[in-house]
Structure formats: structure tokens, C-alpha cells
Subunit: 161 residues, 4 copies
């Protein structure tokens, strides 16, 4: 049931499978994206603050071992454990919130495109109908003219006979 997190780089957005790079509020797919973004700068890709503390950029295993799960917070007091737990849930919620905002942006974008397409369709139909009407009128006019000329030909043939 746990919703999967995606790489926060908009040009990537791959589902994070095994490991991830956590930078302040941003999560990135490992190597592929982190290396490209951090080659020299050590700036947060989201807010551009400089990342100087050792825990600012952390490689996080998404499937920690049982040993790690047992020992990582062992020795801490309940209030510290709950604080860390709350911070990690907030991070996860922020990611879910970002994902949700992204989905809503996609929906807005799709609705815009659809409205545009509908408008284009209406225009095409109106223009086509305009042109077809014009051509229809021309055909009617030409058929009338042709009928007149044919009548003239008949009259002239009758007169010459």
C-alpha cells in the first residue's frame, strides 16, 4: 500500500527502487540524477541553499536490513524517537504532496489541451463549413450559368436551322 516515491527531478521522475539520495526536502534517484546535479556545486536542487553539513546529503537505503532497523535509533529516548519519526513522516508527506501537486498539474495541463483541441475542432468545422458553403454556392452559380449557356446554344441552333 505504501505509495512509491519518485525522483524529484522533473526530467526523470523514475520510481525509487533501492537507494535514494536525500537532500534537505528533495529525494533523487541514485547516481543517474544526483551525480549530474551535484558534480561541483553542492547546492540544493530545490531551494539553491548551499549544503555544507555532513548530513545535508544522505544516501538512503529504501530497504534497510533488520540489523539496521533495530540499531539505527536504539539508545535514544522516546521523545527523540518520536521527533525523528515525525520528521521522516513529514518528509514522506511532503513527497506525497509534491506527487499530488504534480498529478494535479498534469490534469490541469490535460484539461487545457483538451479545451484547446475542442476549440481547434470547432474552428476546423466552422472553417470547413464556410469553405464548403462557398464552394456549394459557386457550384450552384456555375450550374445556373452552364444551364443559361446551354439554353443559348439550343436557341442559336434552333435559329440557324
Amino acid at each position: 500500500m505504501d505509495a512509491e516515491l519518485r525522483c524529484n527531478r522533473l526530467t526523470c521522475r523514475k520510481t525509487l527502487i533501492d537507494k535514494a539520495v536525500v537532500v534537505s526536502i528533495v529525494v533523487l534517484s541514485l547516481i543517474d540524477c544526483a551525480n549530474e546535479l551535484f558534480n561541483a556545486s553542492r547546492l540544493c536542487p530545490a531551494c539553491e541553499t548551499s549544503l555544507t553539513e555532513p548530513d545535508d546529503v544522505v544516501v538512503c537505503s529504501l530497504h534497510p536490513t533488520n540489523d539496521y532497523k533495530t540499531s539505527v535509533l536504539s539508545g535514544l529516548s522516546p521523545s527523540l524517537i518520536m521527533e525523528i519519526c515525525s520528521r521522516a513522516l513529514s518528509f514522506w508527506q511532503y513527497q506525497i504532496h509534491q506527487e499530488n501537486s504534480f498529478q494535479h498539474a498534469v490534469i490541469r495541463n490535460l484539461n487545457d489541451k483538451q479545451a484547446q483541441l475542442q476549440k481547434q475542432l470547432d474552428n476546423v468545422i466552422r472553417e470547413a463549413n464556410g469553405e464548403i458553403d462557398l464552394l456549394g454556392n459557386k457550384v450552384t452559380e456555375l450550374e445556373r450559368d452552364l444551364e443559361l449557356e446551354r439554353r443559348k446554344v439550343h436557341e442559336l441552333q434552333d435559329a440557324s436551322r
Copy 2:
């Protein structure tokens, strides 16, 4: 940052503001929807199991008082507290997961509609072009016929003179 939950009834989907009715894995906006669905049956709207236990249907305040927040789990052991906490987080994740699935269904639906609209546009353009070509050909044909008749008229007039 907390994502808001929505009434799980598809015809409602209002954001839950103050109170909600929790039925097994389903959350419903109060009065508006719960009363309509539960007037006689007491069946879960999601899975149709019969709801017989007193805690099966619970009216939940989304903004509990400080007194309630302090006392609701007081006296329980840490392992029970964590179990209850995990169940409530799972419920919330399930809701987020449902919301996310709903968004994805909306996106799929919008993409289908857009493909349909694009196809309709292509059809309209093709059919209009076909009709315009037909009419264009007819105009060309009629103009040619008209020219021929006019020439005949000239020739007959020249001959009679």
C-alpha cells in the same frame, strides 16, 4: 502540508473539514453521505460486509481537542500505542492511495478523451477535405463545361453572322 482526505463516495468527493464517518477502510463526509448509505442496511459501502460491532462505524472529529489528544491513548503501553498509531497511518495511506488512484483514473480518462477528440478532429479534417476536394473537382468540371458551352455560343454566333 497534511493532504486533505475526501469523502470516499464517488458522487460526493468533498474535502472532509470537521467531522467524518469512518467505516472499516472507508471515510465519509458526515450526514450528507453517511445517513443516505446507512439508513437501514449497516453494510460497508466498500466491501458490503455487515457492520455489527460498535466500533465498526465511528464518527471521528478531524480536529480533536487537546484534552482528547492527551487522554485518548493514555494508560496504554508503548507497543499498543505504536500498533494503534500504525493502523491509523495505514488508514491514512490507504486514503492517499485511493486519492492517487482516482487522480490516475482521471488522467487516464482525460488522455482517452483527448485521443478521441484528436481522432474526431482528424476525421472532420479528412471528411471536410474530401468534400472540399469533391466540390473543387465539380467546380473545375463545371467551369470547363461552361467554357465549352461559351465557346459553342461564340462559334454559333460567328456562324450565324
Copy 3:
């Protein structure tokens, strides 16, 4: 492993088994103690503030059903869940802290009693030794006096013969 909580009333201190009465920061064994303390007053037994809110005094089941565990916090956001969870852990920690303080008071009390007993033992030994010495001296003195008198008897008997 979960440490058991005890009724906070010092004259009771029974292990809480099934249900408990939670009053602000105090936990009480049901009926036995709560009824006696709350018959008229509705004052907190710990801090004497008046308990007026409905959630100020709560009967808490120490072994809630699965249905209750699932539904009690369902519908709440993760941050509310964590806040409630932290408050319940603080309550539990406060109880453990109280129990620990009680054990330390018992140990201090036992150490005081032992020091007193040791002092009493030392006093008894010193007084007994004093009395024994006194009596010993008296015996020595009496034996010397007796010896003198016996010698006098012998001398007088020898003189009279």
C-alpha cells in the same frame, strides 16, 4: 516486556490489569480507588485542579479490541496521529518515572532503616558490653572480697583452735 502500570494511589499501588481511570497525569485502578476519590469532588488527586471537561476523567481499557485499535485514530492526519502518540508515550513515561521515583524512595527508606538498625545494633552491643564489663568487674570484686572473707574465716578458725 511492557512494564505494567500501577494504581497511583499510594495506599493501593495494585498492578492495573484490565481497565483504568485516567485523570490528567494520574492513573487509578478502577472502582476500588476512583470511586472513593471522586465521590463528590471531581478534583485531580495529584494536583487538586478541578476536572470539568468531559475528557478530564476517562475510563481506559488496557486491552482494547482490534476494532477499537483500528478505528480510534482513523481519519486523522499523520501529524495529529504522531502528536497523540507522543502524548500517550509521555503519559506512559511519566508513570514509569513515577514508579522509578517510588522504587528509589523505597531504596532510600530501606537504606535509612538499615543505617538505623546498624546504629541500634552498635548501641545494643556497646550497652551490653558496658553492662557485661560492669557485671564482670563486680564479679571480680565480689570474688576478691569473698576470697578475703574466706581467708579471714580460715585465720579465725586457726586462731580459735
Copy 4:
């Protein structure tokens, strides 16, 4: 309110202040005790299993930085966060439980010592009383004998006169 943890080595039992060494279910004060116990063996001081995994022995900071608190579990799913949180609470509860058992052992020990001391006091009083009675009897006997001899002296003096 957070109860402090103590070094689990019975000959140390110092309150853990800043850093601690966590070994499976055991927590140790840094350097002082860990180095002595682990110089060559890498066996758990509690259960003697061999500690081969990298996370089996962990140096844990009891006052982690905010950066660490934010990043240590970031990227993990709520269910993993709750699992880790529950494991850390269990560790803390185990420590509290151990501390509590230790306090109870201390109390049992003090009660035993007190009973022994009381018994010793009773014995001393009984033996002293026995000896005092004996000496008292001896004094009485000697005083009677002395009185008899003195009377003899008087009779002999009267007779010689």
C-alpha cells in the same frame, strides 16, 4: 521526564550522557566499558553471540543534531518508519525494564540484609541478655556466699571474744 539509561555493565552503571555503544540489546558507556569488553572477542556481553554484522555494534549519539534527526529516516515509507520507531521504543523499554529489575533486586537485597541485621540484633540481644543473666546470677551467688562468709567471720569473732 525521559528516564536516563545507564551503562548495562554491572560494575559501571553510570548514567549515559553523550554517546553510547549499542550492542544488540545492550547499551554501554563509551570507551570506558566498550573497549574493555570488545578488545578482541566481539561477543555480545549479554548473550555471548558473536557480533559479525556491521550494524551489530553501533556508536549512538544520545543528542543527535537537527540535521541528523531530519535525514536519518527520510525517504522511508511510513510502515518502515513505524517499524524502526517501534524497535527503538522496544529497546528503550527493555532498558527501563532492566533498570527496574535491577532496582527490584537492590530492594530484595536490602530487605534480605535488613532481615539478617534484625536477626543479628535479636541474637546479640539474646546472647547479651544470656550473658548478663549468667553474670547477674553469679553476682547474686557471690553476694550470697560473701554474706555467708561475713556472717561466719562475725560468728567466729563473737565466739573468740
